[in-house]
Amino acid sequence: MNDYPQILFKNRVVGETAFIDRFRANGGYQGLEKGLREMTPQEITATVKASGLRGRGGAGFPTGVKWSFFPADQPVEKFLVINGDEMEPGTYKDRQLLLADPHQLIEGVILSAFALQVSHAYIFIRYAYEECSRNLEQAIAEAKEAGYLGRDILGTGWDLEIHLHRSAGRYILGEETAQLNGIEGVRPNPRSKPPFPAAKGLWGKPTNVNNIETIACIPHIITGGPGWFINLGITQGGVGTKLFGLSGHLNRTECFELPVGIPLREVVETFGGGVRNGKGFKACLPGGASTPFLTAQHLDTPMDFEPLEQLDSRFGTAGVTVFDETTCMVGATLNLIRFFARESCGWCTPCRDGLSFVQWILEEIEAGRGNRDQIAMLKDQKKNITGRSFCALAEGAMGPLDGLLRHFEQELEDHVKLGRCPFGD
């Protein structure tokens, strides 16, 4: 069914994990050999930059550009951190990757660490992904055994140690600077930027943070070359493939590797098998819980950064959560806001208290106790929270509220008018 090139999921057999033998048999660690034996760190960074790869952790920052800011040539202690927090609702792609093919990440980490000339990399894994942690532990041990990790790797004179940090819950640790605090063992509130981690990260030392999927792309870019990678995308400007995690009211809620730029309709209908129980499509979160809703009118949008931004939404993590026509969008938004309010780190006021205020207003409306003033209040809360918080968590929380207000204000009005939820069961 999926005829698109499978790069990251090349070795994927659902229910199985490819360890070193199968990984190598399928061409694993060739990118590493090439990168370390034939390329300089600068060349690797240049190649990644040329590939146009954008971060897969949600913000979509061009990876090569980020690396080029990193003081790779400075002889100071520096770190690479791999972000495997993946706690944004609707996002479960990194898990699939680690369940299927942990060495792919390890190879990417080694190549990236070489490009950035760091000798210590931390892989940060969320609490719920214990299987992934175990896979990684085994993969690290195997890679060490095979001479890909440790001292003087492949005779380059360069050393690398990979540390695994198992977290203990909380979405905010996905935010890169909070994650650094989490690894250091201090309270995981985000840090102010600037200074950016590239200047002052772990223990004040230059640190580069990338998402798991981002790093997993690196070996492929090195073996296949930037041109090949760019051509994997099917939109103008769309680059590479992307793991799409489908969820919600779809017939098939699985994770697929699809080209960047694939139309939303194809994702929903072909891969998701259409909306469950023959119901109509009402809306979806295109890229995780913090991305504003899209509606049926947007189904032909290519799933890529720019086209989605033009719709005032975001590509995010490409976790597509679909809602059928019977869904109460006020209820859905309330659920999302509750998540963000609960996961606020508590550092800044708009997030810590503003989100609970929004939650309360939505609860009132959803329960039929709301009034028109409160709909106006929602708008003005959104205006005053968006862009006003310390980190992007609260801003993300405003994504679904923004979608609700733009596309489903009528549902809010209906709740108020009826004095109950019109979709109530």
Binding site: S192, E343, S344, G346, T349, R352
Partner: protein, 793 residues
Amino acid sequence: MPTLTIDNKSITVPDGTNVLEAAQRLGIVIPHFCYHEALGAVGACRLCAMMFEEGPVKGLQMACMVTAQDGMQISTLHPEAQELRSHVIEWMMLNHPHDCPVCDEGGECQLQDMTIAGGHGRRRYAGKKRTWINQDLGPFVVQEMNRCIQCYRCVRTYQDYCGGDDFGVMGSRNRLFFGRFQPGKLESPFSGNLVDVCPTGVFTDKTFRFKTRYWDIEEAPAVCPHCSLGCTVIPGARYRELQRVRAGVNRQTNGFFICDRSRFGYGYANHRERIRQPNCQGAATSWREALEHLKERLGKVVNEYGPLSVAIVGSPRSSLECQALLREWTREHGYRPPLFEIDNRRDRTARILAAGLGKQARSMAEIADSDCLVMLGSDPLNEAPLLALAIRQAVRNGCHVTCLDPRAVKLPCAASHLPVQPEQLLPAINGLVANRFEEFERQDQLFLEGAAERLGRAERPVLVGGGDLLGPEGTEALLKAARSLNAGLFVTLGGPNSYGGALLSEDGPDSEEMIEAALEGEIKALFCIEADPLTEGPARSARALGQLELLVVCDHMVNRTARSADIFLPTTAPPEAAGTYINNEGRMLPFGGAYAPGLPLRDIGEGGHPPRTFSNITTGGEPRPAWAILATLLQRPLDFDSIHHGLESDPHFAGLGLLSPGGEGRRVTDAGMLPPAAQPEFPHSAPEGSLPLLVVEALFGTEPLSSLSPALEPVIPEAAVQLHPTTAARLGISDGETVSLRTELEHLRLTARTEAEMVPGLLVAYRLRGTPLELLPVGKITPCLLEKGGNDA
């Protein structure tokens, strides 16, 4: 130096100033909570929003997080900025209880102010509020967590600034608890600062609870009288009762904070045993009669024995005005030159410092800015607590601290400590100059060479000394060292105005000479002005005082000498009158009186009635400032200002008249004089098997005024003798055991405490007031015998 425009007003600010600070300089006060000058900006509360209209930064920003840059055009009145601020206040108020009527913070609550300023007046949130169970945080601070607005100031003060590790923030999201792991006393000696930094009523002063509304309190900026650092404090009184002390701001000395001794040690002023009426031979009398009686008896002594039979002991607790009049009085009548410190060691130390400090003087602000500190015989947390905070700030900025001390010096920051014998301090100082440490063991030599090397490399090195342990010789050596190493010098002294006394003593005689004269019978009348020779003086003082025909004591506290006075004249306590102190770096710091003395109403109110006789004197209002008593004796007008300004005729004090209470003060201009050569000390043959005992100050329980404060009772340490575990083992003594300690004159029973970080072979005890330990001179070695048990005591 960027120039920017805020609300159409232009200002040029130093590099690195943030926009919130720049606005404050223009007098534009924007609501803010998380920013605090001492703590810096963290951008958490999101209240200080301003609109950046033109220039390098655009849009709505948190002013505290933006560094001022050239060409910025900023509006604080932009509707979007105002709108956000009102929202932030509304969010903060979601869970805040409406308990202002019963909240101690009412009236001085920044949240009240900011709520009004933020334009939030009507509560739109009608959901449940989160509530907390409070913790008991000990005798000083009350917690009322429901009032918390999560500005994080408390934890940033307690942990980051003060280095405490038993108070912090727990939980996450909108369930944040600021407190301890378990209920219990806050361990930091700076815990009271929570009261000042908390912008609302979460942390309030337990000793002040439910006493007074802010607008009813009488306050004036003052200088803390409990050590020599000269921290600015603001004592507050109501109904003639000193009810609290809060921190004042002095960027050169204490910055924004004070220690708990300063804050909670105020009870001496309200002490029930304070004698508030003049008395002769123990019988209360009027001022007029007392002064007449005094003149008559003094006249008799002078007639019979001549003016040199009159001696005066002043004190480092007295104001400079009092000290200066004292000197004038002795000069006018030809009495013996006054002493300003009966403790000879402290007296000589202060005079040597005042004579030599000069350009080497450093302030606490400069210590906080130092890149290399070497501490010699200094235990700041016990001797001068705020110094420890200055040192901590230096360390936070990358300074290296070396500490040479016999004691187990604890600091709220990292330091390398080398335990040395008290008599090794001098060779260590000299060694730092010559970079030779032959007298030390190999291991210690390496340590000291490292310290010397760092000192040599440093750009802003400061030598920090403890006057008590260094003594005159050590201080002299340290002065020389500072000069030759081109390092700053900071030496703590015995009392709040030791430096003033030292300057005024000039090269006058020291207390040895005076005591000898008294023992010889040359002195017949002794005036003690806020001094207590029977406690602070050498053991011979008792015999010397026994020879007198007249003992006059002017003081506000009852002490040994006051109890045996022929004539007692009550003086005001420091917060009750204006004056000037000169701190240990030579900084002149004037203060104003916060309130007039009088018997606290709450004491009178206890069932009894105020006296029904009509009088224009407040009940218990007789105490007079010591300077006023002297002015009366000198027949000068009772005009503080003229006396204060008159001090400027002494070139040391040039510029004093321009200073105002609560300001930063300024250093004295001229050096003091060296004391006369010291009498050679008789080598005291230590008895067989004796151990050296070093008596030192403690944070609580040893400083004379605060030790009288009931609020501090729960924190006064046990009477103990500390010794190194190896010493204890040699004596067969274990930790916690009761031991008997015998000096030449005293026999005490104390608890033995082993302390691994102190130097072996030495005994250390705190000079606890109200115990026989208070009679042992501080900083000096007393030989003593230590035995197990001590049941025969």
